[in-house]
């Protein structure tokens, strides 16, 4: 056999019974249990509701969804695969392959909404719009620049968490807004499935980021932290303008921006950092919060006497075999 053949690196066969990091199995299990396809959601029940939106509202909705499709496409084809190259454990690579595929499911599901509710020419116009929209293109470029192979593993993870936990939310706001007004409620159900997945993705990649940070010197950690906050500022700047362009006509811009601040802070927390925006700037419209977490008793606070004194989860399977009582 020739030397060149012998020297080729062969990956280790993944052994799920020998874990180096318990989080890999925990997240693998969460993601696989949560698996779904858009065909499970009865989108056609939204046809009547769709017809009651004004042409302007329809155009906005389709455009927002093409913007979200672009982010999912980037994460599916570039983001998750590039993180695989930096994986510390073979199980991490397997989890990232699940993340990559689910991003393809998300991107595909917007087209299910389109084919159910919209005219082909409306959709084609919106995809053209997204490929030409300066803000959408600018934020995509900022993320893709970090995904380049030359970027450091930790910078890639920062970019990935910001995409998963921050950049989607200027778009997610709209279906939550419609849902709070009893519009497009099935589409909102589908979006909530995507939101749930992205929350796990942001949490997991943020967790791996924190593991990586532990290996660095204090000076190196500070450098990465400065980079992260700098990138957040740059992305926020673009998001603010994108938001104004989309939502000014509906008078919703300030409401959306509060939602962006709230999610920016959560993205930073996924990386183990403190939030950037003060709490006063993160007061999200309660109707949007209720649309995000229906049935979760939004205002429960025993200390201040609001809500019921005992919150009992609704969709619960509490009988875990580990309980002894």
């Amino acid at each position: 056999m020739k030397d060149t053949v012998v020297s080729r690196a062969v990956p280790r066969a993944v052994n799920w019974n020998r874990l180096e990091d318990d989080k890999d199995l925990e997240i693998w299990n969460r993601l696989t249990v949560n698996f779904w396809l858009p065909e499970k959601v009865p989108l056609s029940n939204d046809i009547q509701s769709w017809s009651q939106l004004t042409p302007q509202e329809q155009t906005l909705t389709i455009r927002v969804f093409t913007g979200l499709t672009l982010l999912d496409t980037i994460q599916n084809t570039v983001g998750a695969p590039t993180l695989m190259e930096d994986a510390i454990t073979p199980h991490e690579e397997a989890v990232l392959s699940n993340i990559s595929f689910m991003e393809a499911v998300h991107a595909r599901s917007y087209s299910s909404v389109f084919s159910t509710l919209c005219q082909t020419d409306q959709v084609d116009e919106a995809f053209r719009w997204s490929s030409e929209n300066e803000h959408l293109q600018a934020k995509s470029r900022l993320i893709l620049d970090e995904y380049d192979a030359t970027s450091s593993p930790l910078r890639k993870k920062v970019a990935s968490v910001f995409l998963e936990s921050f950049l989607f939310y200027s778009g997610f706001y709209l279906p939550m807004h419609w849902s709070s007004r009893a519009r497009l409620t099935n589409t909102a159900d589908l979006i909530r499935l995507i939101i749930r997945d992205e929350a796990i993705h942001g949490y997991y990649i943020g967790y791996k980021f924190q593991r990586g940070m532990e290996r660095l010197s204090e000076a190196e950690r500070q450098e990465i932290k400065d980079f992260a906050f700098g990138l957040m500022f740059d992305l926020y700047d673009i998001e603010a303008r994108y938001t104004e362009q989309l939502y000014d006509p509906l008078g919703l811009t300030e409401d959306v921006k509060n939602f962006l601040h709230y999610n920016a802070n959560k993205a930073l927390q996924n990386l183990g950092f403190e939030g950037l925006f003060p709490d006063e700037a993160c007061r999200v419209n309660p109707a949007i919060m209720a649309a995000l977490s229906p049935n979760s008793d939004e205002n429960h606070d025993f200390f201040s006497g609001s809500g019921s004194s005992y919150v009992i989860g609704k969709a619960v399977a509490t009988e875990d075999e580990d309980w002894d009582f």
Binding site: V33, G272, S296, F302, F303
Partner: protein, 138 residues
């Protein structure tokens, strides 16, 4: 004022929440081979939520093992649960599950590592809560 006990996995959100409270707190170890803290006084438990889409597995196995001991369970007075509203109806569900199993109130729910508002509310709330506890004759 009485005790706090918390669990936090290596992602550290709940640990950061507890650190910001700046109150003495005992940690339930992540590693199953490590000993649980020796609890002798009433306490409030702070823990995150791990529920899947069906609400299963909301409470971490180490928290369940900690509460399985009747002497530790008897001292539990309330639960504060972490979570993420993006998980919809299962947000902070560990709190509801523990409340029902142990017959104690869910005192508060927060997201990830909490906000400044959460910290202020929980600090003030705990102070009032323990004040009421102590005024009840044994």
């Amino acid at each position: 004022m009485s005790g706090l006990v918390f669990f936090s996995s290596r992602s550290g959100n709940t640990r950061r929440f507890v650190e910001k409270l700046d109150l003495a707190a005992d940690r339930i170890p992540i590693d199953e081979t490590e000993a649980f803290p020796d609890i002798r006084a009433p306490y409030v438990l702070i823990c995150p939520t791990y529920a899947d889409a069906h609400g299963r597995g909301a409470v971490h196995r180490q928290v369940i093992r900690f509460l399985n001991a009747p002497e530790r369970r008897a001292l539990l007075r309330g639960v504060i649960a972490g979570g993420n509203r993006n998980f919809g109806a299962t947000f902070a569900q560990a709190g509801g599950v523990i409340a029902r199993k142990c017959n104690v109130p869910v005192l508060y729910r927060f997201e990830l590592a909490g906000t400044d508002t959460d910290i202020a509310r929980v600090k003030a709330g705990l102070e009032t809560f323990w004040g009421q506890e102590c005024s009840i004759p044994a």
